[in-house]
Amino acid sequence: MEEQLKKLKNTMNQTVFKDVVFSEKHRSNILAKLNEKKNPELDVLQLLQTSKTGYEVSQALIARGVKNFAENEGMLYVLLHELEGAGYLTSTWENGEKYYQISTKGKKRLVLEEEQMTGTSLLKKLAEGGV
């Protein structure tokens, strides 16, 4: 029995697990799900480190692969309005267009969130292929 069990890895790979393969498809499905779930606020705050109109923000988000507003641009304006109301953004009018930019309060929040994102040195090590 012990002898057979020692070969179990090989045995199972050829039988039970023959069709159990983690493929590129699984990988990209997971990444797609991730993007759906991701909170776009952080992206908006990052983008508005230089002032932009709502339209420019929407284009920049698409360029980043953030698809939350791709089919509902109105929701982006709601978010911008909320962030402004909460004091994270300031806005100015130029030539009849509204430009948004991150405020000091917004910058503080951004730093905090980015620290959480990239956080520990472990994450960096892992990202660089260490550990």
Binding site: L5, K18, K37, Q49, V131
Partner: protein
């Protein structure tokens, strides 16, 4: 365009890490999950949820255990939660392994007897009750030590040893005279 890439670089770190972890552990985790749920579609679904969970919790990883142990623990707990869930209990899984093995055996009938015996062992391992299947899988397939298994399952070493012994007895009985 360049500006967007530079501004975005910090935000994607965690995502890069997830990709790295999927490359490294994707196959292991999918097989591990399959050994618990014995259904392809469910295994894929749960594996997806597990990696999203890992992504969400990665900054809570404390290096008290190895990264592999941490990831496997999340995966195993997720599988057990699923098996306990209302969803699973209500919908009886139809894709039984026995059925798969039968068709497989039909197609490879011509292969040497040795292969047949191996098929049988693999099938009986998959037919073990979960707590016995778990120890056999972790010890012989994943090649973990009893100590590592304790870290991953939270079950103490003596219990694990007893279960391993019992699992082997069950397999022996099932396969008596056939291997």
């Amino acid at each position: 365009m360049n500006e967007f890439l530079i501004e975005g670089s910090q935000a994607i770190d965690r995502e890069e890490l997830l990709i790295e972890l999927m490359d490294r552990y994707g196959q292991d985790i999918l097989q591990l999950v399959y050994s618990y749920v014995k259904n392809h579609a469910v295994a894929e679904e749960l594996t997806q949820e597990i990696f999203l969970k890992i992504y969400e919790r990665i900054d809570t990883y404390q290096q008290r255990s190895s990264l592999k142990t941490w990831i496997w623990r999340i995966a195993i707990n997720h599988c057990k939660d699923y098996l306990r869930s209302w969803n699973y209990r209500k919908i009886v899984i139809s894709e039984t392994l026995a059925k798969e093995s039968v068709t497989k055996r039909e197609t490879v009938e011509a292969e040497v007897i040795q292969r047949d015996e191996e098929d049988l062992l693999a099938k009986e391992v998959m037919n073990l009750p979960m707590k016995y299947r778990e120890v056999i899988y972790l010890h012989y397939f994943a090649e973990l030590t009893i100590k590592e298994m304790e870290g991953i399952t939270g079950v103490n070493q003596n219990t694990l040893k007893t279960r391993l012994k019992r699992a082997k007895e069950i397999l022996q009985t099932k396969l008596r005279g056939r291997i």
